[in-house]
Amino acid sequence: MTVVPAQQTGGGGGSSGLYDVLELVLDRGLVIDAFVRVSLVGIEILKIDVRVVVASVDTYLRFAEACNRLDLEAGPRKSPGLPEIVGEVTEKGARGKSKGALSGAAQTISDAFNQARQEGETESRPRARKAPSRSKEEQE
């Protein structure tokens, strides 16, 4: 048979890119009631629980630190002239390595996802709550 490059993936790559597609494989697609589905225990839970990161004290502190660094980088051209600087930095940022602003959660998820996979043999415990705190350590 011929092997056609069936899929092009742009703007992603890496483990979060992989997760982006696998999320569809896991959550969407045709479900037929006459067939059974393998147990996905330990996978879905992860995605739902990462939400808790958003409104946490840790997130606030992280943002506060980030804003601190932000101003330092902007140096003498801060406050009044900020919009110009925004333009520059925005472009640089968009091209460079990026991360979800609220939690870096794309990474969090794929880490947790990999972890769940590795531990898939043992019955999965609701381990999602560990994932966010783990990722925070990584970021600090």
Partner: protein
């Protein structure tokens, strides 16, 4: 031996992926079962099938391969029938429905778009737009970082502003891309992304859709847009006509 089902397609599909391998360790050979005008892409189901990454990828690869040659209705990962006969029976009983879906989705592919903020860029934006946040940050900086409470106050405000920006951006991007698509399916929310939307796009206008994505990248440089496709139309297959609500296995519940 139970049968793992990857997808349903037309019997006349020009390039069914016979000879390739699918899920399991070792990977099980992919076969094609036919019934009337329909065909199912299947393999033997491994006894101990779990949602491991290599199996998820195998599922996706088989569908990508089959989808490259024509329309395939992709099954959700992990669909297992008791045996080949059970698959043939389903194809036979619901032939009209699947034939209709295949006609409807013929020539169309799914593009999934996920977006996240580029942290530094979005922080600059919200600081530029909000004088209170700017003043707080300024005060904290002068105080060598500020007290714990000062940091929390600033952080909470900024988190709030960023969250509002997430909603705005999600709505904008969703609407900017919609005109280039035939159908739109909004995926589950998560903090992993601020936008998770699938677009059904006719194959022959994929370039137009991707051009729209590029325009959004230009107009929203503080966003990291991740586009995946062409994919089989995962988000645009309907549940079977005879499927009463709530009959899917417990594992589905989390996706809702």
């Amino acid at each position: 031996m139970s049968t793992y089902v990857y997808g349903i397609t037309s019997r006349s599909h020009p390039a069914l992926p016979e000879g390739m391998t699918g899920v399991g360790e070792p990977a099980r050979p992919v076969r094609v079962l036919t019934a009337g005008d329909l065909a199912a892409v299947v393999s033997d189901a491994p006894e101990d099938l779990r949602p491991k990454r290599r199996d998820l990828l195998a599922h996706q690869n088989v569908l990508a391969e089959a989808g490259a040659g024509g329309c395939v209705l992709p099954m959700r990962f992990g669909s297992v029938a008791t045996d080949d006969d059970a698959v043939v029976q389903v194809l036979t009983e619901r032939a009209d429905h699947y034939a209709e879906r295949l006609r409807e989705l013929d020539g169309k592919v799914e593009y999934n778009v996920k977006a996240t903020h580029v942290e530094e860029a979005v922080l600059h934006l919200v600081m530029a737009e909000n004088t209170e946040a700017r003043a707080l940050a300024e005060a904290n900086r002068r105080a060598g970082g500020g007290s714990y409470d000062d940091k929390i106050r600033l952080g909470e405000l900024v988190a709030h502003l960023v969250k509002a920006k997430e909603s705005d951006d999600a709505e904008q991007v969703r609407d900017l891309l919609a005109p280039a698509a035939t159908a739109v399916s909004v995926g589950p929310e998560s903090t992993g992304w601020l936008l998770n939307v699938s677009y059904l796009v006719p194959r022959d206008s994929a370039e137009r859709f991707l051009a729209s994505v590029e325009e959004v990248r230009q107009s929203h440089p503080h966003l990291d847009l991740r586009v995946h496709g062409p994919l089989p139309p995962y988000s645009f297959v309907d549940p079977g006509p005879a499927q009463p609500a709530g009959t899917t296995t417990g594992a589905d519940a989390g996706a809702r």
